[in-house]
Symmetry: C2
Subunit: 464 residues, 2 copies
């Protein structure tokens, strides 16, 4: 007897939670498609040679390699050649780069794609860390060039997604790498690596406090001038409180150098278009502390936070990059993308008690079975409900009716339909509405349409 269990670091859900998770996936997909993004799915296994071209040491250490039984035998007998041929994808960006380079001549650019699949990382086992998790990505890829206008489309999609997910107030925070670089250069921090080190220290503001960071940056190692450090500390504290305030904050940066000017101009255009796309100004803001992957992003960068749960951190991040697929093609493919780590988000929402329990089952109605003789009749009722598009479960065995009600109630099924001899004789069925806690009779012919109306009303009330 083997103990049934999953490996550490994976999230497996019981049906009620899986239903909630699937609804989030559906909502995300629907909104990605609403903005004209096209679906792509790539294989979970890529050739190691292709997958590991781009990534540095940190990522490589976390890669899962795959070997069939045959290849494994060879490796063990010492005839294998080092790195296994196959590996599991660790993100959706490298597969996107491979996909776009491979199918460059079959795709129309700018290419808007979405991809919602699981990725794999050999993370240290730890609560809330996952070795298998869903990423839900959108990217726009241009050929040779891609207008900064596309940088405004992503916040509009994200606003639409999180509004419909209905997980509380959120803010899409924007920054721009050119603006940051220009600002740091003006403070005498011109070198990219040094900028990264400074930002790493600045990132400790919340945990270690301002004094600690000030001392570190002015102290040995960094040796930055005190007034420059003050300017940096003021800079990274900038948050805008409205559209007009965001524009004013950009004005306040002054003329500056080329890089700063470029960044300011890009952010201005992006913010104006985000507003034109209908995102309310309460839902986006400047945040000059956002850096993201410094070696990768080159323009706009995004993070999204839940206003009432800042401790959850960014629930959706991304930015603009210069060239997607330089390892696979000579074509220049600039892009802008954003990613939701849904497994982690779901886990955190559940931990914070923010998953609505009232969402109910996918099953909308249950046909109870009073006695064995009623079976053909009950099956016919189930058939009619299903034909009308109502998700219907059938009790195939006549258990005590109390048990059947109890089951439906626990399962989150709203309607229980009953038909006994008496009801049959009168051409009606009895319906128990477990949501409203009331029972009613309805003519057999009108059952399906009656329940449909009730279910559609409930959907309208739920704001969907």
């Amino acid at each position: 007897m083997i103990k049934p269990r999953t490996p550490p670091g994976v999230m497996e859900l019981l049906p009620p939670d899986q239903i909630a998770f699937q609804r989030m996936l559906d909502t995300i997909r629907r909104n990605f498609e609403r903005f004209g993004f096209l679906p792509v799915e790539t294989p979970v296994m890529e050739l190691s040679e292709v997958l590991l071209t781009k990534s540095g040491g940190e990522t490589e250490r976390q890669v899962y390699f795959v070997q069939s039984t045959g290849a494994l035998g060879k490796a063990e007998s010492g005839t294998g050649e080092g790195m296994p041929e196959l590996a599991l994808r660790f993100d959706l960006t490298v597969p996107l780069a491979r996909f776009v380079a491979e199918h460059e001549h079959e795709l129309a650019f700018p290419f808007r794609r979405y991809q919602m699949q699981r990725v794999y990382r050999g993370e240290r086992a730890q609560r809330g860390r996952f070795r298998e998790f869903y990423q839900c990505d959108i990217d726009v890829i241009g050929k040779d060039a891609l207008s900064v206008r596309f940088d405004a489309e992503l916040p509009a999609v994200i606003h639409s997604v999180f509004s419909e997910l209905d997980i509380g107030a959120f803010t899409i925070q924007l920054n721009n790498r050119k603006l940051m670089r220009g600002f740091f250069e003006a403070q005498g921090v011109a070198d990219g690596e040094l900028q990264a080190l400074v930002l790493r220290e600045v990132d400790k503001l919340d945990k270690r406090g301002e004094d600690y960071v000030r001392e570190t940056l002015t102290g040995e190692g960094f040796n930055l001038p005190a007034d420059g450090v003050e300017k940096i500390l003021d800079f990274v504290k900038v948050r805008s409180t409205s559209h007009a305030d965001a524009m004013a904050q950009l004005d306040a940066l002054g003329e500056g150098n080329d890089s700063l000017r470029d960044g300011v101009a890009e952010l201005r255009e992006v913010l104006e278009l985000v507003r034109a796309l209908g995102v309310p100004e309460t839902h986006y803001a400047l945040n000059f502390s956002i850096a993201r992957g410094l070696d990768y992003y080159t323009g706009t960068v995004y993070e999204t936070t839940l206003n009432d749960y800042p401790q959850i951190g960014s629930i959706c991040s991304g930015g603009r990059y210069e060239n997607l697929a330089s390892h696979y093609t000579k074509s220049k493919l600039p892009g802008v993308g954003i990613s939701i780590g849904l497994t982690r988000l779901f886990w955190q929402l559940r931990e914070a008690g923010l998953l609505g329990k009232a969402t109910g089952s996918t099953v909308q109605a249950m046909v109870a079975l009073m006695d064995a003789d009623s079976l053909p009749d009950a099956l016919d009722i189930a058939r009619r409900l299903r034909a009308a598009g109502i998700n219907t479960e059938m009790q195939m065995e006549a258990r005590k009716i109390g048990k059947q009600f109890q089951y439906a109630s626990r399962a989150g099924i709203r309607f229980v339909v009953l038909t006994g001899e008496d009801e049959r004789a009168r051409g009606v069925v009895a319906v128990k509405d477990l949501l409203r806690e009331e029972q009613f009779e309805v003519a057999r012919e009108e059952l399906a349409s009656t329940l449909r109306v009730e279910l559609e009303q409930a959907q309208v009330l739920a704001g969907r």
Copy 2:
């Protein structure tokens, strides 16, 4: 520069095909849920110890093992301990068994679950063989016992799925392992292994012909009596042509032994309930040649074939089993299940030219951009369309209008919406309907509702 490519044996689709594939997945999911099946997703990686308990040598040779970089290093330096700790699932049945045993006390039985995920097999690379492919499974699992009535529910689901997939006429073919065992015992083939060997020969009927099979079974090795072999050959040819004919064929088997009688009684009940569930008699039939996994199935067995494309073989198969999870729990968990191998089915339908090309994009409308000044106005139109639930792509750069139409046409987008100075002045937008090949003007305020009506009409016409 690395050549961008996928490993052999995987199916990766460009967006138009991915959209068609996703629509099939959605249809299958919708119908699974329509019958009250609940979603489960399991991790792609299972503990090898858990995954490989049940499977025999054949399956084990096809398993993909997974090792993180760290584990791989240990294995190479000889400190590893034989079989890697993790492996990729090769079907959805073993993970189901593990899941049900693990969560036995949290699930309500009978437990109806569906699962639609990819599985992995180290198949020999060959055209039409896949190493990564989708399986779409439904199973009903009972605790201690499970009424044969549930065996009737699966064909009703399958009928609903394939009717809506609209890939041509199909027949769900049924047989029963008890009936088969009883019949073979009566012909003196009582031993299970011998039955399997006989069935393997019978399976060659189509390829090698009746004479070959007759000679083999009467010849050395089998040594079966000639009249018994004739009875077997007649038996496996039985196909019913209607519900009444199916009943008559079951009658014609006579009294027989216990096993035969049990099998006949089960098939009778299943067929009656399949009819009561509304499956037309043109869509199900007896087929006494269906055996399926002999070591696994114990009662009803199913295969489904496309009437006009028998060469595709079974597109959906399954059956009744005695005990799902004997390696993980002492509880007896009988079940009945059926599986669609969607990747293979999609590939075959595409090869046979049976994928409707007319399905169109997920993108329903495109807002063209006449000049840069129109951008805020165009974005507002896009916003209104999206708010009305219409999937809308925005042209962010003002290219030649002919190019924009050409793009929309190639991409399968139905409506192109235009707004120039003249239209703005008159409060209208111009719409080109690429499906009907006509152009019309509509008041700005009525654009979204007008397109919605058109799209809903098209859906009704398409029978959805």
